[in-house]
Every structure is written in structure tokens, then in C-alpha cells.
């Protein structure tokens, strides 16, 4: 397992592609600065390569609760107007954004 670890510091990060996935427009200066800061962090994270974890189960969360459900019934809620109060743009009872589908 140890041999299979892909060292983060050795894999070049295509920061423009990742920023695109994250929907954040980066300036060239930001992209360069973050890349160099990441390379130090990745060396640090690569310490995790020292451990053999092949037989260890993953922990996604620490409490023994799954699929918490409630009865499917109508309850009072804040209502359309309160929900739209912070909308950057609205039209009637809707949020308004630039066109998504042509």
C-alpha cells in the first residue's frame, strides 16, 4: 500500500483547472502564490504516506447516527417573502439569475 501512495508534492497541480471546478476566478498572481503555498503544504500532507492503512476502515463522521428522518408532514416555515429577503435579484416569488439553459 505504501508503494501505491501518490505523493501530493510530486503530482503537479493544475490550479487553473481546479479553480474552474471550484468556480472561483483567480488572478495570475493568486494562482502563482497559492501554487507555491500548496507545494509546502503538500510536502506536509505527504507524511500520511508513512502509514499502511489498507486494513483500516474510513471514518466519515464520529457519531452513530445515519439517515435521520422525520414524518413527511407540512409544517410552518419562514415563507416566500422572508426567504427572498436577501435575494440579490428577484422576480415575483422567484430568485432571478442570468439564463442557465439556452
Amino acid at each position: 500500500m505504501r508503494g501505491q501512495y501518490m505523493r501530493m508534492a510530486e503530482v503537479p497541480i493544475d490550479i487553473d483547472h481546479v479553480a474552474k471546478l471550484a468556480r472561483i476566478e483567480l488572478t495570475e498572481e493568486e494562482a502563482a502564490r497559492f501554487s507555491s503555498q500548496f507545494s509546502r503544504l503538500f510536502e506536509f500532507i505527504d507524511e500520511l504516506a508513512q502509514l499502511d492503512v489498507s486494513a483500516i476502515p474510513a471514518t466519515a463522521q464520529v457519531i452513530p447516527r445515519i439517515n435521520v428522518l422525520r414524518a413527511d408532514e407540512v409544517r410552518p416555515s419562514i415563507g416566500t417573502d422572508a426567504a427572498l429577503e436577501n435575494a440579490p435579484d428577484r422576480e415575483g416569488p422567484y430568485f432571478k439569475t442570468p439564463r442557465i439553459l439556452e
Binding site: V62, I63, R65, T97
Partner: protein, 489 residues
Amino acid sequence: MRTGHEIREAIARKQTSALEVVEQALESAGRLETELHAYIRLLPERARIKAREIDAAVTRGDKLGPLAGVPIAVKDIFTVAGEIATAGSKILENFRSPYSATVVEKLERAGAVIIGKTNMDEFAMGSSCENSAFFPTRNPWDVTRVPGGSSGGSAATVGAGTVPIGLGTDTGGSIREPASFCNIVGVKPTYGRVSRFGMIAFASSLDQAGPMTADVRDAAQTLEVIAGFDEFDSTSVDVPVSDYTAALRDDLSGVRVGIVAEFEAEIGASDPALAALYKAAYADLERLGATLVEVHLPHARYGLATYYLIAPAECSSNLARYDGARYGRRVQNGGDVFEMFERTRAAGFGDEVKRRIILGTYALSAGYYDAYYVRAQKIRTLIKRDFDTSFAACDVIACPAVSCAPFELGQKMQDPVSMYLMDYFTIPMSLAGIPALSVPAGYVTGLPVGLQIVAPAFEEARMLGIAHAYEAATGHARRREPPLAGAAR
């Protein structure tokens, strides 16, 4: 008069009024603000209305809540109905919440009076409060130094004595580190102990709200008020809330305190003065009747690396909601909807938030998910198991809360990894989901330092009881006042 329990007592006995107490707190907050910068927003009108309600209840002879008339400060990550909640970010600069967080409702129902919303690192990402999009908060013990973070505003205002109780959140140390830096008590409860409803999310498997207070009794009382199951938070756990104040004790006979061999080696090598201070704290615990036992957390050293995969991954998912479509800031400039997303997020988020979103997006992206994110989750399992093993041999663990005294503003801002290292001793408990607190433990070159006490899941009563005995015997915070002190005491 400085603790919450003293204030409540004085109001109940009609020695003072809630309004008088609130006016003093507002005056103190306002006077210190030019140097401390603890508040993003004071709420004087709301506070006066609530205080008058308490005074009317006193006059009528009503049964008073456990925090009746106690002025408190709330981190700006919690929503208060009708008020702005920024989470320290430009993207929420004008966001007015239509509802209150469950913890805010519980505190107000208990009679607490919110005087303001406190400064924080943007979206709780940081250890110095310098990542606030608005301004950095200063440390009341030395205004050239940071108060810690991310709950730095709450720590600074409680540390200065303006209010006895603040509300914070802790994802990797954001309550315990600033509590240590500002000489107050800070409690991170068990994951699931306190509702997260109305608490703006950073890393959902780690975030937890908790009290930051003048003393352990106030922490116990506040936790008793805010803890408990909430049907609006599916990760809150339905375990009965103990009577934490009844669990406060004055001796430690029969208590086994675990001392972590790996942590002692680490701090002994990095800061001998701090290591000596902690050794003295363990000796104090022994004098109170505790037995010290050596325990091992062999995987704790991987905590930071593990955390910096898991927390950014969760944050990249949580913060996807800030897209300019439904609330918060929007930057459009005539582009299509994707350009609107990208420009809104470019303008709305600061450096650290962008860094973490990009790091998390990378860790979760195709080809890297198993290599990095799943590996981190497996190591999280190992870290949690270490604690399970240790708690078979001890009742609580005592260890450093911090690896240094409060540092100077600007010192770590150019090097994110050096900032991340601040949470070395607090992150393993967050990953394990177990409760931990910081209690004042003395001073290094005149600056305060906290001792961390850690307990198994849902054993907050035990943890607070032991912290109370230590605080009562040592009284480190009572011995000195910060240069920037809030009220005439």
C-alpha cells in the same frame, strides 16, 4: 462583579438591574473597541429591550432563567433573527438572517442578553482572527498580538472583562486556542452535543459550538443551556444533558489523569519554558489528589495533515452555496451564470477561504479522492482509536492547549503552514469528536497560556468538574488583569 453567575445573583437579589449591567457592558465594549476591535456589530437596542424584559420579570417576581440578565457576546457565525450575520466574510456582508440559531434561542430563553456579534476569521478558517474580511482583533493582554482564532472576537471581549460569556465555534481548535491566548475558559463539546442549526457551516463533521467564559462555572452553566438534541440538526445526538454545575468539584482524589508521552516530547523540544509550565500544571493536578498515568497517542502527529484534507474537502462542498444566486453578494458584470458564480466568489472570499476551497476541490477531484481524502478518513479512524485505548487507562487527558504564547500580528500570515501548526494539540480531539477544554494555566513572559483537559465522548460533566478543581486551586486568571481591562470591577 465579573462572572456570569455573580451577575445573575446580583440581579436576582436586586443589587443591580439587568439594564444597568447591559449599559456597563456596552460602555466597556465601546470604549475598548478602538484598540481591541472585538465586535463586527454591537446590538445596543436589542440588548436594552431584552434587559428591560429581565428587569420586568425580576419586578414581577418571576422565576428567572439560569443566565438572567447576563450580557453575552456571540460569534458572527451564528444567526440572530433580523440581524446581520457575516461569518467574517464580504460575501455575507449584508446578509440579514430570517431566523435565529437554536443556541441563540436557547441562550435568550435562559435570560442571556446579547450585546453584539464578534469578529472571527472568515468562515472560521484561521487561528489568529487576522483572516477576518473586516479587521483583525487584538489581544487584551498585548494589543500588538493576536487573540487567537477563529473565535478571536469572543475570546478578546471575554478576556478583557467586558462580558463574562461568549459563544464560539471550534472545528480544529477555534475555541480552545483563543481561550488559551486570552486567559479564559473555552469548551469544545462532543460532536453532536450542541445543535449546529443556524451556525454557518465550515466543516460539518467537525464544527461544534461552545462557551468561552470567565470561569469554569460559567462554562458549565452555559453548556447546560445550549446542549441537547435539536430536531433541526440531524447530527445532534439525543443523549440526556447532565447537570454540569452539580458536577463541579474541588478535589481530584481517585481521578486518573493521562499525560500524553508524544505531546510532552514535542513541546519539550519546541518550547522548554512552555513545557515547564505544563509540567507544573500536571503537578498541581497531582497535588489535588489525581494520579498521573502515561498514555500514548501515536497517530496524533498525523492529525494536522489529516485535518488539512478533511476540513478543506468539507468546506469546498459547504461553501458551494455562496454563488450569488439566492443570498449574499452577487457580482455579475453582464456575464453568463457561470461567470457570475466565478466573479461573485472571487470578489466575496478572502485568500484563506479561496485556498481551502481549492485545496478541498483538488482532494475530492477525480483520481485523487481515494489517494488523499479516503486515506485521511482512515487515519482519522486510527487517531480516534488511540483515544479509545488511552481512555481505558485514564479518566481524562491533560495536555497543552497551544504550542506557543500569543504571537504578534502579521507573524504567520505569509506562511499558511506555520499558522496551521498552531492547532497541533487541538486537532486530534476534533477528529475524534470528543470534548476538550482550555483552562488558564499561567503565564509565559507575561502572556497567558491554557491547559487542555480532554474527556471521552459525552463526558463533559467529568471534564468540567476536573477543570473546576484545577481552577479553584490555582486561580491563574484571578491573579492578574489584562492591560486592556473592560469594566470597573
